[in-house]
């Protein structure tokens, strides 16, 4: 902790945001490279996941709480969007804050009883919440469309122009990835972020310093719900048809997997995890069984070798290489990478 603070004091907080913004800048250029529509479609799906992952990263990376029911919060956002569109004719842009808000409310409702327990018990509670939501949606009759789900007919428009096509929608999703990254960065670098990290490092010590641990843990869960809700609205307007299966426990496990592989403490982690898990089966032509084996192996490798995720591991590796190549003079660039890492802790 002390070393981390020392490093942080030496670097501007913006330095930690810059790599994520640079990567997002590159993602903005992707349509100009003429990708296939398949790639673009998968990229949109990955981007939607990344928005949810930023919320999960606040929860897991900053507060140390792992949720295995996060897809259910995404589902709340998606169903809010579909129901508002069907029953009130409320479109995409209004559904975004409302979906986000109601997902946060759902997170608070789940969080209050769940966060009375911690560790593995909380994981089980969130897992049960995911299953429960799927059951409620499946048995919700016409209101939730039951097991068949709901269609979403309203178009996505941007200043009166149709933005529902793949390329404009891709830009919208990338914009929300950028907003999510900036929001995460702002949380991480705020006094609230420091409070969450204090809770993550030592709950009892944090409580002894007068921090209301339970309230802040619920708060972190609510914040992660805001991100999940936005992700859900984006997903509903992309798929145009949603059903309970999309938000059950298995997608939640995938989200947790993505954030753990990419790394929850660095701003690049959710981007790396989302892209990797979405595109790896595509690039290596893996079937679902092979993919799951690979993810399992990756997860074990990350937990054992790169506990802070792939990106943190890569930065550390880079630092070691530069140090070996240039000796002590290389302290500066490598420290920059480390600073970035430290600032996000």
């Amino acid at each position: 902790m002390k070393a981390s603070h020392t490093m942080k004091n030496r670097a501007s907080p913006f330095a930690s945001l810059l790599p994520a913004l640079l990567v997002i800048g590159v993602l903005v250029l992707v349509p100009a490279l003429g990708p296939s529509n398949r790639t673009l479609s998968l990229a949109i799906s990955a981007g939607i996941n990344i928005v949810a992952l930023y919320g999960l990263a606040v929860l897991f990376g900053q507060t140390g709480i792992l949720s295995m029911g996060h897809a259910a919060l995404v589902g709340v956002g998606a169903y809010v969007a579909a129901i508002l569109a069907r029953d009130a004719g409320i479109g995409f842009w209004v559904a975004l804050p409302l979906g986000s808000l109601l997902a946060a409310v759902a997170a608070a409702i789940v969080g209050v009883p769940s966060l009375r327990v911690s560790g593995h018990h909380f994981v089980i509670m969130t897992f049960a919440f995911g299953q429960l939501l799927a059951i409620v949606l499946t048995n919700g009759g016409d209101f939730t469309g039951a097991a068949t789900g709901l269609d979403l007919q309203l178009p996505v428009t941007w200043f009166g122009r149709d933005a529902g096509e793949l390329v404009p929608y891709y830009f919208i999703v990338v914009a929300f990835v950028a907003i999510s990254a900036i929001a995460s960065w702002a949380i991480i670098n705020s006094s609230y972020g420091r409070t969450l990290r204090a809770i993550r490092e030592n709950e009892k010590l944090a409580a002894s310093l007068g921090i209301n641990v339970g309230r802040h843990k619920i708060g972190a869960f609510v914040v992660s719900g805001l991100f999940a809700g936005v992700s859900g609205v984006l997903l509903a307007y992309f798929f145009r048809h949603i059903s309970p299966n999309q938000f059950s426990s298995f997608p939640s496990i995938y989200l947790a997997l993505m954030v753990m592989i990419g790394g929850a403490r660095l701003l690049l982690g959710p981007i790396a995890g989302g892209i990797l898990v979405s595109f790896l089966p595509e690039m290596l032509n893996l079937d679902p069984v092979e993919s799951r084996i690979l993810y399992g192996v990756c997860l074990i490798a990350v937990i054992l070798l790169l506990p802070n995720g792939l990106i943190a591991g890569l930065l550390q590796g880079l630092q070691a290489i530069v140090k070996a190549a240039f000796g002590s003079r290389a302290e500066t660039p490598a420290a920059g990478a480390n600073n970035a890492s430290g600032a996000r802790r």
Binding site: S36, R38, Q153, H241, S243, S291
Partner: protein, 404 residues
């Protein structure tokens, strides 16, 4: 600078030449796509789609192709595995519709994937066939009318009240003589998922329309392996028939447990082919009815089906619980080819108009046609295994109207 310009011009020429070549190839072929789970949880039903569509494409191409106006086209089939993942299914559909410019798409086996795919195929005017009876939720005369949101979408499986009606009638008529007394009380045990919920609501009505008392529908969570709590509950209701509805793989797990517990004097297994019954050497000391979607491959009363399945398996398709699902797609490739020939054009609107008026002679029926909601009607085959092992099958025509 000059060298750079020359290189650029050469590259442009090469690209133009290859584009011309591709266009020339495209001029003689019609591309169609199939999106199905060739891996993942739905692979059992999913792999039958490309197999059935592929067989039909081969037959059409071997016979010379499709004559549209003055020109004869070969059909090129593009298969895409959705990996039982909705994001992949959508990406595959985007690829087929926008990059490959297919004229038609077949699939998927999962109804919610199909509904999401239709949001891409319909605005792009791509003819879309799907064997999901749940499509009845979106298909109606208004939605499929010209300009309607599902004008190019066709349901290649009968409406659920028809299939449930055929099945219920067939099951009861085959089991009654084998049990030896009138069957009055039925209990339905069903997987509690999208398809299970949707199908059960119709099947229970169909059973009641056949005079059955249905005291309870018992739902089990998908992927259940220990059915004893559900079977014990069913036994307490003293049924004449227990209907395992609808997942063939789960059904085959549940039946031995039911026989062990002696739950009922007869059973019905939805979606289990007599071929699987025989291949696995299954036996029961009570009569067991089975139904296929739509015609059985292991034992059939339909002569067309025997020839079809001989070719289907000879083409390398594996024998599975749901091999017959391929018939919800195979016939419609031929049907579509006939529509193109009749329309004399590949124009989607002309093709839809032809599909709406044609009567096609297929394997599942000698008279396949679409109603005003783009849905087909045909019989369903039901078989029953007697305690001695003899299997009898019969095609059951659907009821004319939905029960109240």
């Amino acid at each position: 600078m000059r060298s750079l310009l020359l290189r650029g011009a050469s590259l442009a020429l090469c690209l133009a030449a290859s584009a011309y070549q591709a266009a020339a190839q495209d001029a003689d072929t019609i591309k169609i796509g199939v999106v199905a789970a060739e891996s993942g949880a739905f692979v059992s039903a999913g792999h039958t789609l490309p197999a059935g569509v592929g067989l039909a494409v081969k037959e059409i191409n071997d016979a010379g192709g499709v004559k549209v106006g003055d020109k004869t086209y070969k059909i090129e089939l593009l298969k895409r595995d959705d990996r039982t993942d909705i994001s992949t299914a959508i990406a595959a559909t985007q690829e087929l519709v926008r990059d490959d410019k297919v004229a038609a798409i077949f699939g998927s086996e999962s109804h919610d994937f199909t509904l999401a795919m239709a949001k891409i195929t319909q605005p792009a005017k791509v003819i879309h066939f799907a064997g999901n009876s749940t499509l009845a939720k979106v298909l109606n005369p208004q939605s499929v009318a010209p300009g309607g949101e599902d004008h190019y979408l066709f349901q290649s499986e009968p409406q659920e009240f028809q299939r449930s009606g055929s099945t219920a009638r067939g099951v009861l008529s085959l089991l009654t003589p084998l049990v030896g007394h009138p069957l009055k009380k039925s209990v339905v045990i069903v997987g509690n998922d999208a398809t299970g919920q949707f199908l059960t609501s119709y099947y229970v009505k169909a059973l009641k329309a056949e005079g059955q008392e249905v005291p309870e529908v018992i739902s089990y969570p998908p992927d259940t392996t220990d059915f004893s709590p559900f079977l014990t509950r069913a036994k307490s209701l003293n049924p004449d028939v227990v209907h395992f509805w609808y997942n063939g793989d789960s059904t085959l797990t549940a039946l031995p447990q039911a026989l062990e517990l002696g739950v009922a004097p007869s059973y019905f297994l939805f979606g289990v082919d007599p071929g699987i019954w025989k291949e696995r050497g299954l036996t029961a000391d009570v009569p067991v009815a089975m139904s296929c979607v739509p015609i059985c491959w292991g034992e059939s009363s339909n002569a067309n089906a025997k020839a079809y399945f001989t070719n289907y398996f000879a083409a390398g398709a594996p024998k599975g619980v749901t091999s017959s699902v391929s018939l919800l797609y195979y016939d419609y490739v031929h049907f579509l080819a006939e529509a193109w020939e009749k329309a004399g054009s590949l124009d989607p609107d002309a093709t839809v108009a032809a599909l709406e008026t044609l009567h096609h002679k297929g394997v599942v029926s000698d008279d396949l046609s679409f109603n005003s909601s783009h849905q087909v009607t045909h019989a369903t085959e039901v078989c029953a295994a007697a305690p001695g092992g003899a299997i009898t099958c019969a095609m059951q025509q659907p009821p004319a109207d939905a029960p109240n």
